[in-house]
Structure formats: structure tokens, C-alpha cells
Point group: C2
Chain length 148, copies 2
């Protein structure tokens, strides 16, 4: 099995994830309620976290604790990601899509989404998986604009 695939596999129950991150179970649920993360949910509603989830949450915690960016600040930064240029959704749907229009929440948390995107599982989307910090988002914008 490829390392990357293993990386994304939901394996850690919430208590284990909390221990790995050295935070409380409640804090993990809080991040989720805020729309920062999307842990895998079993049919029984139990959460499972992947290694990639742990990395992403460590990144969020660094933003909060080291960079002193508030949760609402992180949400606003995530909202800057040009998701439509990643998933290449139908142009005619974009003006109904909060991922395209909104600038206060990550696309995967934005409500009222009517674009083609809704049919997908956000957790498995590369926008969610691969753009977890300011650096990678700005890098995407930089690279994309350089092809102009």
C-alpha cells in the first residue's frame, strides 16, 4: 500500500487523536464545529482521524499558538483558497457557490453550496487535504497566476 494512501486512512478514534495532539477531546470537537476540520464519520457517527488529519490539526494549533491567529482568522484565510481552480467545477454554478463567493469560512464549511462540488465528499477533496496553511494557499495562487 502506498504511503500516501495510508496517510489519509481514518484510523484514530477521538481519544487517541487527542492524546497524539496533546489536547482535549472537546477541543477536537470544537475545531470541527468551527468548520476547521472534517474527521471521517463511521455509519455509527463515531469519528476517526487519519495521520493527515493529525498533521492538519498540528498546523492549526501552530497558527493559534505560535502565529497568534484566531480561529476566525484561520477560517478567513482558508476562505481565500481558489477551490474552483482546483476542482474545475462548472463555471455556471460558481455564482451560487459559497466556496467561490464567501470570504469568511473554508469552502468545505460554507453553507448553501449549490455547485457541482456538493456531490463530493469534502474530506476526500484535495482542497481540504492539501491546502492547510497560508503558505500552501499563497503558493497555489502564485503558481496559478504565473501561467497567465
Amino acid at each position: 500500500m502506498l504511503y500516501e494512501v495510508k496517510n489519509y486512512e481514518p484510523v484514530y478514534p477521538i481519544r487517541t487523536a487527542a492524546k497524539l495532539l496533546n489536547i482535549s477531546v472537546h477541543t477536537l470537537r470544537m475545531y470541527e464545529k468551527e468548520g476547521l476540520i472534517l474527521p471521517f464519520k463511521k455509519s455509527t457517527h463515531h469519528r476517526l482521524y487519519s495521520k493527515s488529519d493529525i498533521d492538519k490539526i498540528n498546523c492549526i494549533r501552530a497558527a493559534i499558538n505560535e502565529s497568534k491567529i484566531s480561529i476566525n482568522g484561520i477560517k478567513a484565510i482558508y476562505s481565500m483558497m481558489p477551490c474552483w481552480e482546483v476542482i474545475h467545477c462548472p463555471i455556471e454554478n460558481r455564482n451560487k457557490c459559497n466556496g467561490f463567493l464567501n470570504h469568511s469560512e473554508p469552502c468545505w464549511a460554507a453553507k448553501g453550496n449549490e455547485s457541482a462540488c456538493t456531490s463530493n465528499e469534502c474530506r476526500n477533496c484535495t482542497v481540504y487535504k492539501d491546502y492547510g496553511d497560508c503558505g500552501s494557499i499563497k503558493n497555489f495562487i502564485r503558481t496559478k497566476l504565473s501561467s497567465l
Copy 2:
């Protein structure tokens, strides 16, 4: 005289600006020290604020007080602005320029800047003047990418 020109004219001394904004003089200096604003400085080092500065600062205060985004969060959001696509600086200079590379401060506050941009007065630059919030920055990215 055109309204827009008048809008950018530095006319209010710091105490007047503070009164207009209903904040303290010290807070205004703090925003400046953080790199959020660039008031006009007379040869005598005295600050003067324009109507446009007041609007920008009101926008910053809304981000802090209503949107609950911390100052470091605002700085990170400003840093997402693709300034190089606005001023069309020489491509060969961009890899030395923190406005292009950095993702924690607004371009006008980023140190070690060696691009063509340094020769300009940031305060008079459209990047500083016209992109003071998440919405206008994301809109710029959206519009620019749509020409791909």
C-alpha cells in the same frame, strides 16, 4: 478637485483621526507599528491621516471587533494579496521580494524587500489603498484567475 483625490489627501492629525475613529492615539500608533497602516508622515515626522485611511482603519476595527480576527490574522490575510499582479513588477525580482514570497505580513510591511516596488511609496500604491479587506482581495484573485 476630484472626490477620489480629496479622499486620499492626508489632512487629519493623529488626535483628530483618533476622535473620528473613537479610539485612542496610542491604538493608532499600535496599528502602524504592527504594519497594518501607513499614515502620511510630514518632514517633521508628524502623522496625517486621510479619509481613506479612516475608512481603512474602520475596516480593520470591524475585522477585530465584529469578525473576531486577530491583528496577526489580518496581517496574514493582507499577505495573501498578489501584489505583483497589480504593480507588474519585474519577474526576475520577485524571488527576492517578500511581497511575493511572504505569508505573514502585508507586502507594504514586509522587510528585506529588494524588488522594483521598494522605490515606490507604498502609501500611494493601489495595493495598499484599494485592498483593505478579505472581500476585495478574494475578488481580485477571482477576477484575475477568470482570465486564465
